[in-house]
């Protein structure tokens, strides 16, 4: 079904592309949001990605790779949006925080993750999102991003270090206060 839509859209069938775009847009938006951490910017990146999908679709050869290819396009759109916007994004949480919710530990964890993440370059954000949100393997991330696996590994390494450092920086004073002892 997906391949059929891709084939038809590739040949210029706008209705097929509309169906294809509607089916993939949420996932693209979710990825863009997690890279950019801003709904408005993610909307812009998603919109740009959808138009790019249409424009570049005739060049896609392997229809099975449509999804990976679409992710690559939205990641690139997110980079562009990140560069273009250079908005000073407020460090604010998008979701209400439930103190009983242990999913992300605590408000402090969320805040630290958010801050640490925002300090990362977009390229490092992207690999974290692809790994932790989409659960892609290193080779899959490499394919999506069009970079060698070694580079993916390196970006993950630095990004994870930064995130860990952000969390640990917050935990240190708590530990000194004896709460973690």
């Amino acid at each position: 079904m997906r391949q059929d839509l891709v084939s038809r859209a590739q040949l210029g069938d706008e209705a097929a592309f509309a169906e294809l775009a509607t089916g993939v847009a949420d996932r693209l938006f979710a990825v863009a949001y997690r890279i950019l951490r801003d709904v408005e910017a993610a909307n812009d990146a998603t919109q740009e990605a959808l138009v790019t999908l249409w424009r570049e679709l005739p060049a896609l050869r392997d229809h099975d790779r449509f999804e990976a290819w679409a992710y690559r396009i939205v990641v690139n759109a997110s980079y562009a949006e990140s560069r273009r916007a250079r908005r000073s994004l407020p460090v604010a949480l998008a979701m209400p925080v439930n103190p009983d919710d242990d999913m992300v530990g605590s408000v402090v964890d969320r805040d630290q993750l958010e801050r640490g993440f925002r300090r990362l370059p977009a390229e490092q954000r992207a690999v974290l999102v692809l790994q932790h949100y989409l659960d892609l393997s290193l080779p899959q991330i490499a394919e999506v991003m069009g970079i060698p696996v070694g580079t993916v590994r390196s970006r993950l390494h630095y990004a994870r270090d930064a995130m860990r450092a952000a969390l640990e920086a917050d935990m240190r004073p708590i530990a000194q206060g004896g709460r973690l002892a």
Binding site: A21, D26, L28, V39, N43, T151, M171
Partner: protein
């Protein structure tokens, strides 16, 4: 007190945190994008020679290409059989050898051996204590006996104390080494655990050319470093680095810490 977050805990936190947040795009985004489509000029499809074998090519062209390929294949098989047949008649070596050679993958290029030389032509920013360490050839760790370590200590990059830069090079290769770093590198090495990268990861990540005559990092103050590796007593920082590497990659650093080359 230092609190260390383990990999699993970090993974769990990251995954949970990323699962939060919006996942539904506004309908207006899709509508606006689709509204642009009729006026968006599309990229033409790129053509590749192999496309003639697919259903993307016109059928006549496809049949013609397949026919030509068959003819070429038959001719090549016949020619190969002729060359390889045990013909007692003497053959001039000239015409046949290149044909055979072209069908055989060439072996790895020979490498020049000798001491690697580094002459330091660094700028004032590179002042500081320099220490080098060449792994002993008997080291069992895969690849480490092929690499030399050096590190900056002090303030070569105005790094915070404890930050270091180590370069992993093949000490058997005789080539000048050019290193350019940049302030991003300083940031990268600002992380305490950045020394835990595997040599091949490191080179894949930061070295644009390896095994050739130049090793280039991304720019940093346009500082160029060339020099010869010299062994000193293994400093504690290197020892620590090796122990970290040992923990990650299962080797025993004591072997070549105790027996540094030279």
């Amino acid at each position: 007190m230092t609190v260390r977050i383990g990999d699993r805990e970090l993974d769990r936190l990251m995954a949970a945190w990323m699962d939060e947040g919006p996942t539904i795009v506004a309908e207006t985004v899709i509508d606006t994008a689709l509204a642009q489509i009729p006026t968006t000029r599309r990229r033409g499809r790129r053509w590749r020679p192999q496309d003639v074998f697919t259903d993307r090519a016109p059928s006549m062209l496809r049949y013609a290409a397949i026919l030509v390929s068959l003819v070429v294949l038959i001719a090549a098989t016949a020619a190969l059989a002729l060359v390889l047949s045990p013909d007692p008649a003497p053959q001039p070596p000239g015409p046949t050898e290149p044909a055979l050679a072209s069908a055989t993958p060439s072996g790895p290029p020979s490498t020049a051996t000798g001491r690697t030389r580094i002459s330091i032509t660094g700028a004032a920013e590179m002042e500081g204590e320099w220490q080098f360490f060449v792994a002993d050839a008997s080291a069992e760790f895969p690849d480490l006996n092929r690499y030399a370590f050096y590190q900056f200590t002090g303030s070569p990059c105005d790094c915070p104390a404890g930050a270091y830069l180590h370069l992993l090079l093949d000490p058997d290769e005789d080539y000048p080494v050019t290193v350019r770093t940049d302030d991003r590198l300083v940031m990268r090495f600002g992380f305490p655990s950045s020394g835990g990268m595997r040599p091949d990861e490191y080179i894949n990540s930061h070295v644009s050319k390896s095994g050739e005559c130049e090793v280039v990092f991304t720019q940093f103050m346009d500082t160029v470093i060339e020099g010869a590796f010299t062994c000193f007593d293994v400093p504690s920082e290197v020892n620590e680095l090796l122990i970290n590497l040992a923990g990650e990659f299962s080797f025993d650093p004591r072997e070549f810490v105790a027996t540094p080359n030279q």
